[in-house]
Symmetry: C4
Subunit: 387 residues, 4 copies
């Protein structure tokens, strides 16, 4: 050790390399974006209690590292539903990437492909999933891109079938079915900003020319509280793709999901954008892991901003995590390069946290690494928070 931490010489102060953390990207995106779009992404439902809870919960949780484990190298690779990813950090589905950058989802897809991780394409993408898949394929020739498709089941199942066909044809290899949106969450920031429509020329391209519509027309995404487990059964019967349900928060629903044959659960509160005052996902993870009992993988999103957050989620039972807003900040700050840098930061931080925890692979992350604040410790720290 010749001195303190190194930074790369010659790096530009405004380039992506100068942004050191995901929060730096958030600040940069805020500076660059139309405030209305910034608010659209940063905000959440109602009082945004859950938005804040997601991040705060990770900071409250403590890690107990192991030492002297003799693990010279770390391997972050994971296999999820038969597919390889170079790290257990996925891109959660978020809508409207073209609000962040003209290249939109194409840039995201290229960055994800180059990072060799999963991009969950939002059904509400402003680029057709087939174009997204092509961009990903071009970015890394010879490697099938790891794309999953986020789906809102449409009440008209024929429409849903058409969407699935489109996604499958494009090469998506899993369906992430959002089930926490019987109605759209209410974001008061948008209402105050008068943000009611996408800018001219921007559309939910996955709903264009759907099932014999008039050429060029774009459907609206329908949300329906009439959806039920029968729709999951229909889906299960309709596709060979692995099905993850996204937005199951109640342990009883986790049991039901298993009964209906889903392949995985995405433990998500929709980034605090649907039901405000839903718990932080990381706080819920232990009981959801208990409920699932290892039967299927759990992917968690919501508030992941640091490599240690990934460690905590995996230690408590997640197979992988997703990040949403940070990807958008990356896009807004520096397009594809920004997304690449966001993923690189997370990869570096996760690798670093693995090393500091004495872990060599995600499988080494066991629940005992999360400090349980045992009875002994608790005994001597009665709540003095109010003083």
């Amino acid at each position: 050790m010749s001195g303190p931490d190194a930074v790369r010489p010659g790096q530009s102060p405004t380039g992506p390399e100068a942004l050191l953390t995901l929060r730096d990207f958030e600040a940069e995106a805020r500076a660059r974006l139309d405030p209305v779009y910034y608010d659209y992404v940063a905000g959440g439902a109602r009082d945004e209690v859950t938005v804040r809870a997601n991040e705060a919960a990770f900071q409250r949780i403590s890690l107990l590292p192991r030492v002297l484990r003799g693990r010279e190298k770390r391997e972050a690779d994971v296999t999820l539903f038969g597919q390889h990813a170079s790290m257990p950090i996925l891109i959660s589905p978020t809508a409207f990437h073209r609000l962040a950058h003209p290249a939109g989802e194409l840039a995201t897809a290229r960055a994800a492909a180059r990072a060799d991780t999963v991009m969950i394409v939002s059904m509400a993408s402003t680029t057709d999933v087939r174009d997204i898949a092509a961009a990903a394929r071009d970015a890394v020739p010879g490697r099938d891109p790891a794309l999953w498709f986020q789906l809102y089941i449409q009440p008209d199942l024929e429409d849903t079938a058409a969407l699935i066909r489109r996604a499958a044809t494009a090469g998506c290899r899993a369906l992430v079915v959002t089930v926490d949106s019987p109605v759209l969450g209410v974001h008061e920031r948008n209402k105050r900003n008068g943000f009611t429509d996408l800018p001219a020329g921007m559309y939910c391209e996955n709903l264009r020319n759907l099932r014999g519509d008039e050429p060029g027309s774009v459907r609206q995404i329908a949300m329906s509280p009439a959806l039920s487990w029968e729709h999951v059964d229909w889906l299960r019967a309709h596709t060979q793709l692995p099905i993850l349900l996204k937005g199951v928060l109640h342990p009883e629903d986790a049991h039901i999901a298993l009964d209906h044959g889903v392949d995985g659960l995405m433990l998500s509160n929709h980034g605090g954008r649907q039901l405000d005052t839903a718990p932080a996902t990381i706080d819920l993870l232990p009981e959801m892991a208990d409920a699932v009992g290892g039967a299927v993988p759990l992917v968690l999103d919501g508030g992941v901003r640091r490599g240690t957050d990934v460690v905590k989620a995996l230690a408590l039972g997640a197979a992988a995590v997703g990040v949403g807003r940070p990807i958008f900040w990356g896009l807004a700050a520096h397009g594809e390069q920004g997304v690449t840098r966001v993923l690189e930061i997370l990869r570096d931080e996760f690798d670093h946290a693995l090393a500091l925890c004495g872990a060599g692979t995600p499988a080494d992350l066991t629940p005992d690494l999360v400090w349980s604040g045992s009875a002994v410790a608790q005994r001597f720290a009665p709540g003095r928070a109010g003083t």
Copy 2:
């Protein structure tokens, strides 16, 4: 989904439609009201610990929504003491509506009638309950208005009897008997503001011309620590109207109340206006629901500002909630239209929260929807609040 949340086109930026939340109404009311009157309503007893606790407690409680329940439509209607209300959100009794708006309680009553919900008329209203009832009747011809009457039992029972007769004649269909006011709460804001008397021309009209007083004279409301359960027995014997006790906070008193044959309890700390440092009502609700054991309905007020607050109260055992200050803010901001808008916001938010929780009716709101922070989850989040 063509884009983000919609707002209604053409809405005036200063009209009631531009106010999106109950907190917006609070801000608008603050801007419009004489600060002395604002303080009178916003403030509470002593250090206002309970005032703050009521709202804060709701934000601390988390909801675990259910998914895929196939409930296309929500029905918010409830029946309380044999009476229908279009939603489980009532108007709690608050005094002196003419401080907020010249139309005073008449405006409140019209809005409540049009919203098809219960207005609990304060005995300290600045309008005679008979005029209030007439306004409600005129607002929705052909439907009996759902008015209840809040009563401070007067030590002179003949006076009390006269008041009950007046309320019953007017058409009030339940008595909400405040029992937390053996003496008046002390509001230091009022003392500092020198707010000692109602403005000229404003009176507690329900106490005018009571029982052979000199014509035109207005009695003072008497509060008495001599009141006892015998007064409840007298009342029980004296009226056929359903009797709710308002202000019972001790579970032992809930048991006693049941022994004395009351029809319901209004779980209220008087909006933090009587005993400062009383608990938030929502924090008390689980043990009060346990104490009552379903024998009679519980109506909760105190800090309800969001549709999710209503969901939490109902999930934990309340049959309905009341709102007090928000109604006053509505009046102050836009008179009857303001109250209408406040009720509409709450109805929309409650409906929305029901949908997001997978519930179709209030009966679907079961305790398991409130996150219990199970032993598993708690194990991994020792108190880091102080850090």
Copy 3:
């Protein structure tokens, strides 16, 4: 009720009547006092964690009032060690009253006598206890003043004996023996302010002309870590006066104290002026009450600023409370009138809190009035403090 809370007409905005709460007196005192003296009184040991904890703890504790108890009048009188006081609110011993007002302890004593409550005279008073007693006697002719004497046992027991004789002769009727001061607490505010000596002409008058000193000379108060339970035994054998130990915080020491025949305990952390990070006294009270098991009365001080604080302390097992700094603020603001007003505010607030809790006497204040946050309630409010 013709309108909101009354204030007395014609009251001067700067007179004691215009000060409504003990915190008002604190602010007034701060405005009037030399900042060095203000800091001396307001401050505490080291980081002042305990100073803040004392007040904060009361605000965290919730009260569950009883209703309809039919208690028309309240009687606040208590009997402590055979002596009557008109309320369970005593004057805790504090040093150097002449720093606050030229009349010093004489003013305090007159106010206490007129309020018919106990003044615990500090051994470090700037007035001779005999003069204090005379002032109290003159203030209310025909009633023996309720004076107790706070004692630091001097390592030279003959000195101690002389002090006790002086106090007993003056008419003090109990000894409050401070045991938390083996060394003097360190107040960094004083060090920063350069406050090292009393102003010219001000002395610890109780140590003047002690036991054959040169006439006019004043001893220093000695503090000694050599003091032990044997000194208590000596004291017990030496005086017929009731003995209270002040500053016992460890339950094991409470047991030892009982074994040594003390008559009472004053549960005090010296207002946060001795060991910083000692617990708030009200937080400790339940286990101290358990330890003592009713064998002797407990008097609590530390952070009492409101009538509800008194209710909480009595409900949890204290026989009475003491107030220290507020008396000093009263003196600094308005001399004797200020102390009178401080005591009157506390009396009114306590009476009011009794009424609101459905209590008629201190004996009605039972532990169940303090909300225990039962298992049921706790189940639904996992720590969201950090969000």
Copy 4:
């Protein structure tokens, strides 16, 4: 007691005597240091959650003092691994003292020697350990300096052996082997400040001329995740010096360490400089003390800033504590005199806290002095932190 706390007359307002607390030294150091160096020392890993937690945890823990123990004098001396120290407060290893003051580690060593306490020399010192030892020896002729040597085991064991020889030859009497640094912690403050290299002329002198290097050349300290318990076994076999492992946080690792024959553990999270969101060490101490079961001594560092912090650590099972940053602040403020003053403040505060706790020696500090917030007390203080 003639008046309030004394300060020494004639002390300079800017000299070390005018700095009363460790936080004063922090402020003074901040004012004097290049902000880049200040940040280097004050900062920690990533979001610095652990940096803040270390200090905050001590403030949350309460002490229950004992009284009347008749302990006239305190003796703070301890014996650690057969060596005497005048107090249980050691100097934790910190790098690069010449960043703080030109005299660097020489000044620290002289101050430590004069204070008769242990200095743990950092392997990353900017002065050769042999020169440090000479300075310590010169400072107090005739007394062997109490120096321990902090070691990062180098992957090349011959290098490690050379380092140990150098340290042992210099007179170091224990090895403190840092095991929490398989990789270097990431300090984003340094990256933002561009602080990548030591200033010209400053080196890790302990790595100069190591094992036949070219004369004058200085090695880099190597950190390696390949280190394992076998390296500890090698070390155990290689040296007679007592071995402490520094950075063991997981109780299971404590058990393993005992199995490998270490002589002690230094319970440290590296001052929050390695794994961010590791728990505060004082919060972990009870369960680590349980895990070790008294088999070997525990030395705790992290957040010790007050004499009461030392008391808490010893009461909960530590044999001694270390201080790191405060020593650096002392150096930066006033060189050797500053370090002397920092140690003197801590000694005085610890002695004072012992006295106030009724303790005569470190051995009197038993776990019951730390308030356990017993079941009784907890019952009456449900979490109102959020209100």
